[in-house]
């Protein structure tokens, strides 16, 4: 019922919203990050984390720690939380929660396909996959030789099947094709997710459309920057942009013809919400763009907690947690490799 979520939302969503807000307050704060940044060894990091929500997940790890173990255990916590929420969820929230994982699914598919292309061991690849994007027959992806087979053998059973219909070709798989496939899939996924949220209506639609639009615009910018200087034609490039978001449709027209980073900047600065992101960067620089985008995203995600009775908090929490894990990974890598001066380069404080 549009506009009347407050009346009925808590019947099915109240418990889970409470859970997710509780989880949110367990996120590491700036004070935690400051302490973590002062750590000398990975054991110090473990010690500090053991005083946080991560404690039970790390306490049984034997002492010479590795960055991967820390990240793995932290991800495990996220996965456990997600699974708990998914078990408790009813329709349509369970579908919403499943939508959140499709992005990881796409990444995993691409990872396996690329890996087999370069003749890597499947088991090794499986370990690298994000556990949220796992599905039953993911290992079978290695069998496929081309897109059509990929679809017919494996993906037809997964929720990704509808997104695939746009990129079925019988071309053999190569790096370029795979990258295009990833972006086509992501485009279809975002559009589908956007439609689904619009269908839910209410505050969910309002907040999710903002978050997804930001995601779509960010992807558009990244696709543009990454495809500069490759053999991707303008038309092909435009096909990869999602058909919603702030840049749609005129910004896409302009982005499609960009030839260097400064042109992209020119296009983006016309849009007031993105102006501050780009105004922070010096000309010709694209390294810090990722961090700037992440910071903006975190800000928006945090804001979504200000409103009640919508599903956006679940999306926001999952994203924030992923950001936190990225932060932890960066900090532990810096500590492990004695690069403490660079710790602050890529850490995005959440609170």
């Amino acid at each position: 019922m549009y506009g009347f979520e407050a009346m009925t939302f808590n019947i099915h969503g109240g418990y889970l919203e409470a859970i997710v807000r509780g989880h949110r307050s367990g996120l590491l704060t700036a004070a935690d990050y400051n302490n973590l940044c002062q750590c000398e060894t990975l054991d110090d990091i473990k010690m500090h984390l053991s005083a946080t929500e991560y404690g039970p997940y790390l306490q049984n790890e034997p002492s010479p720690l590795h960055t991967t173990t820390i990240v793995e255990k932290c991800t495990l916590k996220l996965v456990d939380e997600y699974k708990h929420m998914l078990c408790q969820a009813t329709e349509p929230m369970s579908t919403f929660l499943e939508y959140i994982t499709y992005g990881h699914m796409i990444d995993n598919v691409v990872l396996i396909v690329t890996g087999t292309l370069h003749e890597r061991d499947v088991q090794e690849l499986l370990e690298k996959c994000h556990p949220l994007g796992m599905f039953d027959s993911i290992a079978t992806l290695a069998v496929a030789q081309n897109m059509r087979e990929l679809y017919r053998l494996v993906l037809v059973d997964t929720p990704l099947a509808p997104y695939f219909s746009e990129c079925i070709t019988s071309e053999d798989l190569d790096d370029m094709n795979i990258e295009i496939m990833r972006n086509t899939l992501y485009k279809a996924y975002l559009e589908d997710f956007y439609r689904f949220c619009q269908k839910l209506g209410g505050a969910t639609a309002e907040i999710m459309s903002d978050l997804l639009a930001f995601e779509a615009d960010r992807r558009a910018v990244n696709i543009t920057i990454n495809s500069i200087g490759t053999e991707l034609t303008r038309d092909d490039r435009r096909k990869l942009y999602s058909s919603f978001g702030l840049l749609y449709p005129y910004g896409h027209e302009e982005l499609a013809v960009c030839e260097d980073i400064d042109q992209v900047r020119g296009v983006m600065e016309k849009y007031p919400p993105y102006q501050p992101i780009f105004s922070k960067l010096s000309y010709g620089e694209s390294q810090m763009l990722d961090k700037a985008f992440y910071e903006e995203e975190v800000k928006r995600l945090c804001l979504s907690f200000e409103q009640q009775f919508h599903y956006g908090v679940f999306f926001a929490y999952m994203r924030l947690k992923e950001q936190e894990i990225r932060n932890l990974m960066w900090i532990s890598e810096c500590v492990a490799q004695n690069q403490k001066s660079r710790v602050h380069d890529s850490v995005v404080f959440i609170f």
């Binding site: 054991d43 010690m47 790890e61 039953d136 027959s137």
Partner: protein, 820 residues
Amino acid sequence: MMQWLKNLPEMDLMRSEKMTFVQLIIPVESAHRAVSYLGELGLLQFRDLNDDKSPFQRTFVNQVKRCAEMSRKLRFLKDQINKAGLLSSALPTLQSDVDLEALESQLADHEHELIEMNANSEKLQQTYNELLEFKMVLQKAGSFLISGKSYESAEGRELDENVYPSDYPESDSTSLLEQATQSGPSNSSGLRFISGIIPKSKVLFFERMLFRATRGNLLFNQAPADELIMDHVSSEMVEKTIFVVFFSGEQAKTKILKICEAFGANCYPVPEDLTKQTQITQEVSLRLSELETTLDVGIRHRNAALHSIGVHLSIWMNMVKREKAVFDTLNMLNFDVTKKCLVGEGWCPIFAKPQIQEALQRATFDSNSQIGIIFHVMDSVESPPTYFRTNTFTNAYQEIVDAYGVAKYQEANPAVYTVITFPFLFAVMFGDWGHGICLLLGALILIAREGKLSSQKLGSFMEMLFGGRYVLLLMSLFSIYCGLIYNEFFSVPYHIFGDSAYRCRDDSCSDAHTVGLIKYRDAYPFGVDPSWRGSRSELPFLNSLKMKMSILFGVAQMNLGIMLSYFNSIFFNNSLDIRYQFIPQMIFLNSLFGYLSLLIIIKWCTGSQADLYHVMIYMFLSPFDDLGENELFWGQRPLQIVLLLSALVAVPWMLFPKPFILRKLHAERFQGRTYGVLRSSEMDIDSEPGSARHHEEEFNFSEVFVHQMIHSIEFVLGSVSNTASYLRLWALSLAHSELSTVFYEKVLLLAWGYENILIRMVGLAVFAFATAFILLMMETLSAFLHALRLHWVEFQNKFYGGDGYKFKPFSFAALADDED
């Protein structure tokens, strides 16, 4: 009077223990020992002096880390012991007083040994599993092959190649493999097959995937395995299914093998030749039995090792936990400037000072330190923690009070009165000596088995029941007492104290229910006359009795509460509170509800017919009118006018003077001091250091006034609503007696009216269940909660601050409790 009050012997439980803030200066060499002795003593609460440091920047972080690592190893060992299904016998073999370094290396050895053993046995187990699977595949797939052969001969084709997966992993079975490989001359055309085994849950998907990959050009046969097989990842037993796939073509083979790999299916070669099959089967069985014995020996060896660890495990765990606690506490201490001493601060009760000093001396002596530990008292700005010394009996009552809020330091402790008033108010609501006896039996069982129950781990509900066993005991004793007064035994009245005072007008007793009974002798000596039961006026009589009784109890308890606030003011030397809070409160409450209680008592004593509602209501509406037939005693009207006026005066009395006087005092104190900067330095000189900082707080008149206003309004409204709240005593007692009457009359007596034994038994069973679950459990719980509310809200809000914090000494005993 004042002198007499002051000379009363001190009650231990009334005021919390006197605490003192102490400083310890400990030489580094004896620090560890001193802290562990203090932990054994458990009477000193350390203050964290390194609050601003994160855990890994503290002094003893390495030791803490080592302890954490050791406890991780211990958890691993415990986990292994539990997995092996060994009961870690908690026999405290007190011989081992190993020191920490030795334990650390010992633990590392044990862990290493176990991991190695596990790896070995896992390898063996895997080989065993593979052989077992191979055997099953041989048995099942053999039968498929035979049927397949007949099928194939009908088709006129030849089955001539077996495919062997190249990745058969175990080197142990190479001999087998060689044999098998020889048996299959390769032929690149024609029908081939792959046989293997796969977890049952994956079969359907596997088959579908095979079908898709080969575009339907295959034949899939499956049969369930007879035995469960251990999955080596999760070490759970899983059901598996044996399959045989027939297909043709080289490309299909690679695809199928890849799919098998992806699904985690293990493929095993099966020779088509029957004789070879039997031969291999025999060989596999032989190896299986060999392996089984090896595995058995391995497990026995491992169990023996685990058992020897298990004996010490609990001691070790305890030791590591203590050690960690000691280092955690040491981390709270500061280094002094010379880095040779550790400085600690904390709270301890004054009575414990000699004990602490003795422990510290012992520590100095035992660690052969040159310098003794300096232990001296300091002044502190903070308010001290609250510490009541309770015993097993009073502990439960103290818990009831603490659940509302921990008393401020040295504040009057309501637990002293709660010990009796709580069970008593409960019993007023639960008055039935039959039910009381049932509760008493329960409480006695819990108390009799105290020693046994306190050592074992109970469920959360039993834990609660056991913790409150002495509360339960008093509750049941009081309900027997109240039950005797109400004269109820499972709602049946008994003539315990002689005959009823009433009898029928004539022998037939026909008009007993219409006209009534006549009184022929003195009143029933104790409690309610049994003849009231079942009479027409039973409810009006009992209601009136219980209602009035509730008000009497309520007014008495609230007066006690206000009296306690007086004791508090005396204790803290706060004459302002006595004059402008205690006196008007006392006047207000007693001029209204104290007067009502007086009227009730007079009415009971004189047997007057006066309507008390009328008296109370018209006391407010028209105080000057004549009381008429409602006059209970001479001079009632002028008394009422005086009481009403004093109540009216009491309200502004408790509202206005106090904030204004506070403001005046404040103004006097800072007279002429207009510059705030200088204030603090002057303050330190002219007033005692302990209270110096409190006065620095800004005096905000409007805040104080609003606070006082809220307080007064709360009291005035509260005295009405709290008195009304005590009527719950009546309501619950009524509900209880009505419920038990219903169960007795409508279930037990009704069923007993039938001759049929079956119906009687059913009736008895229903009655027993209703009594046990509804009356004994639900009603007990509800009466308990209402008694709790009456204490927390109606009683304690008259005097209890409840904003203190508990004394949490560093103690090993508490540490052990924590874990359980």
